[in-house]
């Protein structure tokens, strides 16, 4: 009897699994837990690097994600911009993902223009999208002006005071890449940091964190925001809680559900295998 139930469970319609997942992740929206993560070394290194830059430093930001990875990386993009603004640094922002320009423009307007009241062209610049992936990264090492003749709004770079004197990577104190995949942090490490002397920080989708950990360990990355948890730690560090911290409750529940499913699935598997063996 018990065995047949377990055998049925092994072939359970996956829609029940879907439902369990949905309930677990959605429940914290109705019953708040208010969890906040503790800072981990890669996130602390990310935060510290921006903190120690002299105020007014020019920072090159490449935000490479799309609506599909927005949930994880938009909080990072917003927090990075906030932190840069809080420290009085001057971001020059671009993207290599063709569906990113609108998402990033909204963040820039919300943070730089509305929240901090900074002046476009003087305190921050949005270069927009350039297609070409690695080719763009290397081309910017020679001349940002020939790669980006105008900014996102069609203004020639010469008319933007912040771009005055900007030639290539050497005009920047730091490169920050928020990356959902290809092209992103791996390519910036391969084609930019090992070619042009510019320190780099990365905010990465958690999927790529294990791989980028090797770059962080070797010093090719000076700091690493590790997925949504890293984004939440970073929000806590800069003192501006946002969506990433809100997400921590659902995150916790979701992890528990997956852990449960792995253990439970294997338990059934082994019990069934043993009973089959006896039979």
């Amino acid at each position: 009897m018990a065995n047949t139930t377990l055998q049925k469970l092994e072939k359970l319609d996956r829609r029940w699994v879907f439902l369990a997942m949905a309930i677990a992740v959605a429940a914290p929206l109705f019953f708040k837990l208010g969890l906040a993560p503790k800072t981990t070394p890669p996130v602390k290194a990310f935060y510290d690097y921006i903190e120690q830059l002299p105020p007014g430093s020019r920072v090159l930001c490449s935000f490479d994600y799309d609506p599909g990875s927005k949930a994880e990386l938009n909080p990072m993009c917003v927090s990075v911009l906030r932190h840069i603004m809080l420290k009085g640094h001057k971001p020059v922002i671009l993207t290599l993902w063709s569906t990113a320009p609108a998402l990033i423009e909204r963040n820039i307007n919300e943070v730089c223009r509305d929240e901090f009241g900074k002046q476009y062209g003087v305190d921050y610049v949005y270069l927009g999208l350039k297609e070409g992936r690695e080719a763009v990264m290397v081309a910017m090492g020679k001349s940002i002006r020939s790669t980006f003749p105008t900014d996102f709004y069609g203004t020639p770079l010469d008319n933007l005071p912040l771009m005055n004197g900007v030639e290539n990577y050497s005009s920047f104190a730091l490169l920050i890449n928020v990356s959902a995949g290809y092209p992103g942090t791996k390519e910036y490490v391969q084609y930019v940091t090992s070619r042009f002397a510019i320190p780099m920080l990365s905010g990465s989708s958690a999927v790529s964190v294990p791989e980028y950990s090797a770059y962080f360990q070797s010093g090719q990355l000076r700091g690493l925001l590790t997925g949504i948890t890293g984004a939440a730690e970073y929000e806590a560090l800069i003192g501006k809680p946002g969506l990433a911290i809100t997400a921590m409750d659902g995150q916790t529940m979701g992890h528990f559900v997956i852990i449960f499913f792995i253990l439970f699935g294997n338990l059934i598997f082994f019990i069934n295998r043993r009973s089959k063996g006896r039979a």
Binding site: M21, A102, R133, S213, H255, I259, N266
Partner: protein, 207 residues
């Protein structure tokens, strides 16, 4: 003519991309930079080609009244709903395409597509994640520790857990990733060189 010129073009572009790394002299670097900027433009065209191809294929299906053509028609209509006002009025903030169409259709559609992966990962965890070998058990144990250690309640479970996960990520994981990176790099370098030198030409197809 049909094979030699493409191989020559690959050689020229490939060689300049390599030598510009070693030769800083502007005589070489300026040409390499120009070639790069050309490549950026051609790549951009290739994306438009991709879109045009989607349109062509689906338009044809609608024209032929192929099975499921009404859906293809939805696709074609969606294309023009985005592209027409987008090309005329622009896609910056403040435009209809961006503030309405992109924000309220593209963004939720794309993010939900990716979000549904959470369900598949759950179902895969339950139905496909089987610890049948010792390799899989090492993988499973690490995965469980990492998942537990990366949630805000981890230090309640065991105070050292977050630190252990930091160590796993920073040491054994980094070592494994490094090994893979080095191995993959060698493969990539070999293939890259062979493509440039015209030894590897399967990308050209068969004549």
């Amino acid at each position: 003519m049909k094979r030699e010129i493409p191989i020559l073009i690959t050689l020229v572009f490939g060689v300049f991309m390599i030598v510009q790394f070693f030769i800083p002299h502007p005589a070489v670097n300026d040409i390499a930079n120009r070639l790069q900027n050309w490549a950026i433009i051609v790549i951009s065209f290739s994306y438009v080609l991709g879109s045009a191809n989607i349109l062509r294929i689906n338009g044809e299906l609608v024209y032929r009244r192929a099975p499921g053509w009404p859906y293809k028609l939805v696709l074609v209509i969606a294309f023009f709903t985005m592209a027409t006002p987008g090309l005329i009025l622009g896609i910056a903030e403040g435009s209809w395409t961006n503030d309405r169409l992109f924000t309220f259709t593209y963004v939720p559609l794309a993010s939900t597509m990716y979000a549904s992966l959470a369900f598949y990962i759950a179902s895969a965890a339950f139905r496909a994640f089987r610890v049948r070998t010792w390799q899989a058990s090492v993988l499973a144990i690490t995965a469980l520790i990492v998942m537990l250690g990366r949630i805000p309640v981890s230090h309640f479970i065991w105070q050292d857990l977050p630190g252990i996960v930091d160590w796993i990520m920073g040491v054994p994981n980094a070592v494994a990733q490094r090994g893979i990176l080095i191995g993959a790099a060698l493969g990539a370098i070999a293939t890259g060189l062979k493509v440039i030198l015209g030894i590897e030409r399967s990308y050209l197809g068969r004549e």
